[in-house]
């Protein structure tokens, strides 16, 4: 075996190693497949209300024109997701005035409940809780492992009334942020459900943002 040949063989070995490593990384980076999309669509389709007048005999409601009172909403205060070992404080949040985006709590170990939507008391619509997957300064967030959830996994949300409510995961979906049908996840009609949102997919180091949103949909268990 010549010296030249040995060099060539070493190059081949290095090449093979490089290819294998790149391949392993690529495969490891494959996002988990979406599951339960149909169920989410079914949950979101509004509960049909009988068409007034056309059905005949429906009486028209008469209400006192009093000023609207505050409705009784039960905000979630604690979220517990045993399969991914998450217990997080839930804060009521709104939208960022400047960006019009969901105001995810800056502290990554806490998550935010969309206070304009339904609370845990609701019998219709989507209760939305969003949290950081991670942050550049603070590291891993409460929802770092959210995408590992599977259909059937159980989680618990505790309301400000102290009552625990159990939910069962029915769907895990990943969308490009530019394509996500947010109105479906922020709906106030349809079946009652809990929607958990975080970031995922490829990370753009320049803009320091993820391309996708991971969305978990759970129903009362």
């Amino acid at each position: 075996m010549t010296v030249r040949n040995r060099g060539a063989l070493a190059a081949m070995a290095a090449g093979a190693a490089a290819l294998t490593l790149a391949g392993v990384v690529a495969c490891g980076s494959e996002p988990a497949e979406d599951v339960g999309g149909d169920e989410v669509t079914a949950l979101a389709s509004a509960t049909p209300t009988p068409a007034p007048a056309a059905t005949g005999g429906g009486s028209v409601p008469v209400n006192p024109g009093t000023l609207p009172a505050g409705s009784e909403i039960v905000p979630p205060v604690k979220l517990s997701i045993p399969p991914i070992r998450v217990t997080a404080t839930v804060n009521p949040v709104g939208v960022n005035e400047r960006t019009d985006e969901f105001e995810v709590p800056p502290s990554v170990d806490q998550v935010g409940w969309y206070r304009y939507g339904p609370g845990l008391e609701t019998d219709a619509g989507s209760v939305v809780i969003a949290g950081h997957v991670d942050s550049a300064e603070q590291g891993k967030g409460a929802f770092f492992r959210l995408r590992e959830l599977r259909q059937g996994d159980k989680l618990t949300a505790t309301g400000s009334d102290g009552r625990e409510r159990s939910y069962r995961v029915v769907a895990r979906e990943e969308y490009r942020k530019s394509k996500i049908p947010l109105e479906r996840y922020f709906a106030r009609d349809g079946k009652p459900r809990l929607t958990l949102i975080t970031c995922g997919g490829p990370f753009d180091a320049k803009t320091r943002s993820y391309r996708d949103n991971i969305v978990i949909t759970a129903v009362p268990a």
């Binding site: 010549t2 040949n5 060539a8 070493a10 190059a11 081949m12 290095a14 090449g15 490089a18 490593l21 790149a22 980076s29 996002p31 068409a51 007034p52 007048a53 056309a54 005949g56 005999g57 429906g58 009486s59 028209v60 409601p61 008469v62 006192p64 024109g65 009093t66 000023l67 609207p68 505050g70 409705s71 939208v95 960006t99 019009d100 969901f102 995810v104 304009y116 939507g117 997957v133 991670d134 550049a136 300064e137 603070q138 590291g139 967030g141 929802f143 770092f144 995408r147 947010l182 109105e183 922020f186 106030r188 970031c199 995922g200 997919g201 490829p202 990370f203 320091r208 993820y210 391309r211």
Partner: protein, 277 residues
């Protein structure tokens, strides 16, 4: 033009029972697509009425301060009459013939006093366009026998110089606000103050009603829900530790691997051939 036909069915003894029965759903369906939602607001103090639509009694003993509806009415023209409860339609205290109801709109018919104190009916088209996330729509309608007013929220005028029968509106941050109505340009409070709970994604319509002279100015409120929008996005990660995409450098590495393999292979083959010679 398809006219709506309504028939009153058993009121069942309920005092304020209003029953709108479609006569033949099939005959209504062609116009159904162009139907409008119509609410009726009673803003004439001390005057309960029966409401007739196209000669049929549709609202029985409708009380001041109440809001009826929404009814779904096909596009068309309607004759509306108000009588004292139980009185015949020919003794109507207020009558509007051929009131146009456009298709696909959300309308409020307000029975109220004019600026000089005469009963009248004013149709308002309600702005039911979506409000931005975190916002609520406030609509104020001057339907009282009173001069021009300003509406203040938290002590600051938000609507100024509003006159009967006009409206003013704005999309504002959702939440609770203390509001009052003052005579335009003054601090003389005409109505309120009252706490207004402006719920996100709704329109709150406040009607100033009554008469300044009779000292019975007050408000009637109507709420329209379902106008919410989703937030613009959910930004929830800046770290990159959970990135699932394959970084460009891995492609470079794979490419280099291929080059090394092919190059090394060619060299080995070449030396093997040279060795055989």
């Amino acid at each position: 033009m398809q006219y709506a036909m309504f028939r009153r069915v058993a009121a069942g003894g309920a005092v304020a029972a209003l029953t709108f029965a479609g006569v033949g759903a099939a005959t209504m369906s062609p116009a159904y697509a162009a139907s409008s939602k119509v609410s009726v607001v009673h803003g004439i103090p001390d005057t309960p009425v029966d409401v007739y639509v196209n000669g049929e009694k549709t609202l029985n003993n409708f009380k001041p301060g109440d809001v009826a509806g929404p009814l779904t009415l096909p596009e068309g023209e309607y004759d509306i009459a108000l009588t004292k409860p139980g009185e015949a339609i020919d003794k109507a205290i207020l009558k509007v013939d051929d009131a146009a109801v456009p298709g696909g709109a959300n309308i409020s018919l307000a029975a109220h006093l004019s600026a000089d104190g005469n009963p009248q009916i004013t149709p308002f088209v309600n702005d039911v366009s979506k409000v931005g996330a975190g916002k609520a729509r406030l609509i104020v309608r001057h339907t009282a026998a009173a001069p021009a007013v300003d509406v203040r929220a938290g002590g600051k005028p938000v609507f100024e110089d509003l006159t009967n029968p006009k409206e003013a509106k704005a999309d504002v941050a959702a939440g609770s606000v203390k509001a009052d109505v003052v005579l335009a340009g003054t601090d003389t409070v005409a109505i309120g103050p009252a706490d207004l709970n402006l719920k996100e994604g709704t329109a709150t319509i406040v009607y100033a009603i009554g008469s300044a002279e009779a000292k019975n100015l007050s408000v009637v409120a109507q709420t329209i829900t379902g106008l919410h929008s989703a937030p613009g996005g959910v930004p929830s990660g800046t770290g990159g530790q959970a990135g699932t995409g394959v970084d460009t450098w891995w492609y470079v590495l794979a490419g280099a691997g291929v080059l090394l393999l092919v190059g090394g292979g060619a060299r080995v083959a070449a030396t093997a051939r040279a060795g055989r010679r």
